[in-house]
Symmetry: D2
Subunit: 381 residues, 4 copies
């Protein structure tokens, strides 16, 4: 193990009541490669200071806006090494652009932007800047997702034929957005969230994981959207058929009105000779079913796993790792790439870490689903 | 318990190598209400005799054809009380018609006929004859399916919003029909099987269970069919969107090329306040998830279940019942109805027992799926 | 398949309210080898007739006592081929002796007798008579129990080191025996049940399955008994250490006051290189865990199983078989052996079918557990 | 959220190849209350420096011995606030004594010491010093363990009757200690590990969790130890009966030769009206079984949980937390107590955080198990 200093991160969002901001802080620091040193945690200067105090950072570095933060930090010798974006979606693009304009790399929560058009603009900016840009599609950080991905890539299942991915939650079964629930509020507001409801919030995760694990690309989609809860402004339930670039086909479903489901993301991939199944709520196990042999359960951190899965194990098999650890894997990879970049080795981000390409595809997914639903039929991807 | 004599059954099909014929024999006799006494087990007289001997019946009652059986049995004082049809699909209609013409009730394996047109003809004949006609949609006989059905009917989940049913097998991942596999052979032959492949063989089960449990009717369907294994003549994989008559919507999937799956039928129904999930491979448990409370597992034969589920329990909770017992429940209900009918009380079959209406809907399902696939869009049901 | 006539069985016990009598009827007839034709279903002539009518047998063959049944049936040309004993335990010995004295083979529910002394007497009688005697340790009939047994015998797990078997129920958590519950009543009465409470009713099953699967013999036991529910006359909870004849060791537990458990029998066997786990409530799966490879789930009826497991499969993999089917396997094996015996080929019962040796060991188990508990220490077996 | 500075920790142990040292670093820092600033990571100065560099700390604070660290750090204005002990067991006592002598609080890995005598000495020192002392019985940090504990305390299950706890691993099925495996090496060496093998390493966890969840105390134990792998110097397998202070009784098992098990800790507690089951490998679910109602699964972070469980949730229900998060809960509680102590409010540690009392009981457990095994019978606790 070589010596290293911790990379300094500046967080946008994550003020009082926020869910995902503190998660980013934990995830970034977990492997000891990053530390939170600055933030624009809230649009209220007072609340930003309060959040900064709670995070234990220097009060002078709790800013009232991301612009102020970027301006001030770039002048410091010990200024931030990268910006983390955890705001509602409509702010993702302006923050990312401002950071990159100041030469600061970006780690962003998903989806990349609020609209597909914005995503294309962001992509251009990222490619133009040459700056590292990471996207926290958390589930890509799970060890057994990486094992599944490696198995598909190695052809262990034969040619892939059939896919089925679903991401089901029930928490929006009631109209929480009209009951003062902060998370539900902005997610249900097209102006802050963008045009995709459940499909943007969780469908993009399902879509990303489908392509990430299978190694395939969606080439056409036929989606049907519903808004089940009356008066809601955005979709809360989606079913879709997908066709993949190798001829495989299948389904993608997401819902936030699946009453009783907590966070049920499940991916199944079927090949000629076997299949795999992974569930986010049971993340340390990968189920492998063979056409001609016993069903298998592959356990995280077990010695028989492949290199990619073992590379992200922190504790021995049988000691569960969870959501925060998966998140932290992405930060670890981002930090390692960032260090190289700072040394003047601007290699591309590792293929295991979602970046701007995944971001653009995710926004394209939202756009295509909406279009498919509009015409009630298939659309090319 | 009142005295009763066993009803005498004559089986068509079930010769050497058959899977479902012997299952019908076990199921019919399990609750002591029926006994196999005659059969046209094979189109070869010799093989029919051999099968009859194996079943332990009177050699004189092992016939070379169903026509012969019906003719001979109607003349006996101790002739058969009903005919059981377990042949390939194309024979379902002629056998049923012949039996009914001879005034003999019918218990038929599914699907009811080979085509939708035939189903309409059969329906007319059944209604015209006034004879009991039962259809062995086996899964309707499971205790926990009945509990699920009762919960939906009682509104325990609130208004139903979302459905997801799937029936996945992997055994046709290879072209078994060209390798001398008898079951695969006729199922892959449109002439004997009818126009639906996986959708006919197992999709009809999924469709039936969806309507049976939810108490809803499918009003529109958008299906996409595939034939994944090269040269196969019929579909082996299907994904469909469905709309229900109360405004709920969801998906129906079936596949026989889901490598690694054995017999994975799973039904999920989501209401406003909770959801249920039932898996055929774990049939004695019904999973109930609430929006606001702990997940529950309801166990077969437990005292807290409703009347319908407890009515079909034979052993105490914790002692698993399986496929044969579910099958036998249908025979028990059929036999009880038949006895009433023989006493001159021609009441309709109990609502829990699938009959000709379910048969027609199942064939309509096949027809509609094929049409939807042809136009690549929604069709009314 | 060769022709055969059904063996005629006469049932002792199984009158109104009985649980296990009807189960024996179903199990015996399920594979078409036996049929119930006579019975002494109750000690009340009237109730015996009522039960006989419900079973659909000839009223003349519903007897008021087992003695009467044996006497009458031996004189008939179509008399019973064997007697089935499903009474409370204290009657097992006299009924078996009476049957054997009349030259009639016996299939008995477990435990073999009410006391160990009686078991030795029965063993002597069985061996002296040369008659087939089977004991329905039901769980020995499950396909995956047989697979587990075959794996141990073949050394698949390496030398066996550690065992853990438990059988937990909760239904006697309350003093049902004082509340008019028939099943609880006689089981809690030493005069009818014998000296072992939970250890006799379910502990014997656990003990049998341990030896049956592992192929080992218990050589010493250290047991601690409790009567948790006040005023109960017999034990309702037991924990024991066991030593096996190859040096392995482990635990055996049974309880009927494990509130919330239904019928939780679980057997785990650990060898040098792997282990197996089987649960009665999930009987179609055998979990196999390897020291150096993925965990496996072996499914009933799957092609990769061994001969013994496949021999008892009736339906394809993925179609669950349950308690009644396991029970029926024992009857099938008994019937096949009985037919050979009737042909004058008095071969021993197959090793897979529990008989008098298992019966004696089970009663010895009860006796040794009580003695160990009395001295609060180890006893040789 | 009030402002706070991070508490500074000095780690003893955790050098190259260590498992538990890095885990302590992650756990301590996860909730942002502590930071690693110093360490005596190895007895080799060079390796200690290398580890310090890998951890990213100031090279001047990577010491060659714990004595040196304590000496140097106490003189700094920004010296460590507490010492963390993660060495082999025989060093726990001297390090803790040295820290406390210097007025520095201690967080120690379990077991507290190498022997029971040492534990008594440590207890005296802790009580004499008035310094906070925490013991990382990790599993006490899981949300659902706390829910289970609260349910028992609230009498939700009625009076407790029966307990069953087991902790099974397979990794020592082979003699790894003779193959250069560092973790196996010191654990198998009585001089460094103390007299308990599996019972010390994992049995103490099982014992602690049993008392922690049930709220009961073990009053007597009857244990049988085995050393299954030839030539091993310490026990690798243990089965024990336990009696609890309320009259309940049950079993405690631990093994490191249960081939195929990864880290299978399972606790079951049975009361008059229901029972609970928790498995470390599925930590976000608590199974609750009722005598008279459906089985329930309580999910971590769900709104219906009690205060103690919700207090430690970091992410919404359905997002798994794991081993590191449980570990971090202990550090959070320790840090909060330490801050109060530093403010001059020397309150006792919260009851949810294991301390010296748990440490002494754990060492007593090892001593009593060995004594019970020696006399092959019951010993008072």
């Amino acid at each position: 193990m070589a010596e290293r200093r911790k990379l300094r991160m500046g967080l946008v969002g994550g003020g009082p009541g926020a869910f995902i901001g503190p998660v980013h802080r934990i995830a970034a620091e977990l492997d000891g490669r990053c530390e939170l040193v600055a933030g624009a945690f809230s649009q209220s200067a007072e609340r930003s200071r309060a959040a900064g105090a709670a995070f234990g950072i220097d009060p002078a570095r709790a800013y009232a806006s991301y612009g102020e933060m970027i301006e001030a930090e770039r002048k410091r010798n010990d200024g931030i090494d990268f910006v983390v974006i955890t705001t509602p979606n409509h702010l993702h693009l302006p923050i990312a652009l401002a950071a990159m304009k100041a030469g600061i790399p970006v780690m962003s929560d998903k989806p990349a932007t609020a609209t597909y058009t914005e995503a294309l603009e962001l992509e251009k900016a990222v490619r133009g800047s040459g700056l590292p840009y990471g996207l926290t599609h958390t589930y890509a950080g799970y060890a057994m997702v990486r094992e599944a991905r490696a198995m598909c890539a190695a052809g262990k299942l034969g040619a892939l034929r059939k896919v089925a991915v679903e991401y089901l939650q029930g928490w929006l079964s009631r109209p929480l957005e009209t009951a003062g629930h902060k998370q539900a509020e902005w997610r249900s507001d097209p102006a802050r969230n963008g045009p995709g409801g459940a499909i943007g919030d969780i469908g993009t995760h399902a879509f990303h994981l489908l392509e990430y694990i299978s190694g395939l690309k969606v080439t056409a989609i036929n989606a049907t959207l519903r808004t089940v809860v009356p008066w809601r402004k955005l979709d809360d339930d989606c079913n879709a058929f997908v066709r993949m670039n190798n001829g495989a086909a299948g389904t993608l479903a997401c819902s936030q009105v699946a009453a009783g489901e907590l966070n049920e993301m499940r991916v199944r991939i079927y090949g000629e000779t076997g299949s795999i199944e992974w569930r986010q709520q049971d993340p340390n196990r990968l189920i492998v079913k063979w056409l001609d042999g016993p069903e298998e359960i592959h356990h995280a951190a077990a010695g028989y796993l492949g290199r990619d899965a073992l590379a992200v194990a922190r504790v021995p098999a049988g000691h569960p790792e969870g959501y925060l650890e998966a998140f932290a894997v992405l930060y670890r990879e981002f930090a390692d790439a960032l260090l190289e970049w700072k040394k003047g080795n601007p290699q591309p981000l590792p293929a295991t870490l979602p970046g701007i390409e995944a971001g653009v595809r995710g926004m394209r997914f939202i756009e295509r689903v909406i279009e498919s639903n509009r015409i009630a039929g298939w659309v090319e991807f």
